[in-house]
Structure formats: C-alpha cells, structure tokens
Symmetry: C2
Subunit: 200 residues, 2 copies
C-alpha cells in the first residue's frame, strides 16, 4: 500500500536477483515468474519494473552471475604448475560439473529464447570471453610458441564447443540415458581425442 523507499533501487535489484536465484534452484525454469520473484521478496510484480526494464533484463543480470561463477569454477580447475594437458582436461571437467551442479542456471544461460532482433550486450560477450580465455591460455601452453594466436583461439572454441555439446545432449538426457560412469568415459574419450588431434 504504497510506502516509500524502504529499500533503494539497488537493494531491490539485489533482492530480486537473490529471490530469482532461489526460485530457479528450487523449482527450475518454470518457477521463474515476475509475480513469483516479487512475492518471494515481499513485493508485487510491478515494483520489479522499476529495477529492471523487463524480465529479460532481469534474466540477463542473473546470467551474468552464472557466467562469473562459471569463470571462477574454470579458473579454480587450473594448477599453474601442472602440464597444460592436465589443465585442459581439468577445465573441461569443471565446465561439465558446473553445468550439472547448476542445471537451471545453465538452462537459463544457454537455452533462453530471446525476442526478435535481440543482441547480447557487450559486457555479456566480454564476460563470456573470460571463460574462453581460460581455455585458450592452457591451449596456448599446449600448442607451444609456434602456434598462431588464431590457431589458439580456434582450439579454445573447438574444445569449448565439444564440452558444451556433451552437456547439451547427454547431461540433459536429450540423446539417450547414460549412467554417470559412461558419461565420464565419454568425456575422457572426447578430451583424449581432441588433445591428440590438436597436438598432432
């Protein structure tokens, strides 16, 4: 009933993102609605439109946090002293583990449908690039000095795409059911093949 400014816009933004994160984790994509988010933070959906342009905007902010968390997970997988081979493998597994442990966030990040003519903002692409660079750094070490930056960039994208495809098809149950052990076997098989192919 129309009190004024118990929370600042920034606080409301923060509360909304936190509530959305919680709903997402507990109920999946279906649990994410403007009314639901607002209710979870003790407000009404209309208030959200003071802190975000629309739900897509809110989702984009949520996705930013997912990307940042992912980059952290990938970075933590690297052991600077370890051989690049091992690091690439560790990063790959960290990518897949992150997708499995944050499935709703992963779906919101990679499967959300955007409106016509939507283009990702620059900060979004830049933030994504940080994860890509973690791949590229270790692949650069792996390929050695004679590899061009362009080749390293291609290798990074190739490895990322491979891992992404595994998660998109298998970890989401879309191609067929695989026990976790078989999935791990597939992951190792694919990483082995890729590393051999990139090195050779």
């Amino acid at each position: 009933m129309g009190r004024r400014s118990e929370h600042s816009i920034e606080e409301i933004r923060e509360m909304a993102l936190a509530s959305a994160q919680r709903l997402l984790t507990e109920q999946g994509l279906a649990g994410l609605s403007t009314r639901g988010i607002a209710k979870a933070m003790g407000y009404t959906s209309g208030t959200l439109y003071q802190a975000f342009r629309n739900l897509d905007d809110l989702v984009l902010q949520l996705n930013r946090r997912t990307i940042v968390g992912m980059a952290q997970a990938l970075g933590n997988a690297v052991t600077p002293a370890a051989p690049p081979n091992d690091n690439v493998r560790a990063i790959c597994k960290a990518y897949l583990t992150f997708g499995r442990e944050h499935r709703p966030q992963w779906e919101l990040l990679f499967q959300r449908q955007w409106p016509d003519g939507f283009v990702y903002p620059a900060w979004y692409v830049a933030e994504m690039g940080k994860s890509l660079m973690i791949f590229e750094h270790e692949l650069g070490r792996l390929l050695g000095a004679k590899a061009s930056p362009h080749q390293v960039s291609m290798a990074g994208r190739a490895v990322w795409c491979s891992m992404h495809g595994i998660h998109a098809l298998y970890a989401s149950g879309r191609l067929e059911r695989l026990g976790v052990s078989n999935l791990d076997e597939l992951i190792d098989f694919q990483i082995d093949a890729l590393l051999r192919g990139l090195a050779g």
Copy 2:
C-alpha cells in the same frame, strides 16, 4: 457450433502437424500455440485435445518429423564409395546445415523444456539412434576392424556432441558473433582435430 467428423482424427492430426510446422517456420517458437495451430487449420484449440494428449505430445510428434528429416539429410551426405574421412566431414556439415536451415525445428527439438519427470519415449530414442548410426558407420570404416564396437560408439557420440556444441553456441549467436566464413573455418578446424585424434 458442433458439426461432426468432417475430418478423421488422423486427418486432424496431420493438419495440426502441418499447420504447426508452417507456424514454426514462419514465426519461430513464439508462433507455436494451441489457439494458433487450431486457427490455422480452421478449428478451435479444444479440438486439438482429441488428437493429442496435450501440446507437449504434439511437439513430440513434430520433433519426430524433424529427427527423420535430419537422418535423411545426414544419410544423403554419405557417398558410399568415398573415403570415410570425407564422409564424416560431410555428415558433420550436413548436421550443421540442417540446424541452420531448420532453426525453429532445431530449437523445438533440442531446447524445449519438458515437464517434471518427463522421459523420452522409446521410439524417440530409437529414431535419434538412426542419425547416430550414420556417424558410427563411417567412423567404423575410419577406425578399421581393430576398433571395438564400443570405441566406435564413443567416437560417434564424440563427433556428434562436437558438432552439436558448435551449433548450440555459435550458430545461435550465443557465444559471440562470427561471420559465416569464420564459422566454416571453425567447423573444419574442429573436424580436422577430431579426425586426427580419433585416427591417432
């Protein structure tokens, strides 16, 4: 106003799938609604529920056609007399081309959210398997007689996942913008690496 049986259930099913296909192609995922499909075929949404259990059921039937079409596209890419290397590459490109040329269908197939506890029906998994077998057949030729069926199966999944990841991340604009020529370069780079890695 309740006329009766101008079309049989099978005809209605067919009309619905055809209309849905048209809407999907013309307007994308957002254009797919029970009311829209029904209107496009001169009926009302309620009638759809006589031919399908619900919209998910209709979508599943639609996806079946997409899978069949995909298997045909992959099969057509194979030249029996050609070396397996070339055939694998051709199948990969056919997979990506199919995804690009049937984007809404591809999204409906691979990005649709299903209700809690959903499991794909057996015919769905079997139909998907046909496409996988096209990969596996050529990879079997490539790897030679000394490769175990299990290894061939792994190789098929590895190659499929790699291609799938490329489309999911790049062709849908989700990682960054790449000109088509760069995308083609990435595809070749990745196929080269995989083929080398699998052979070595």
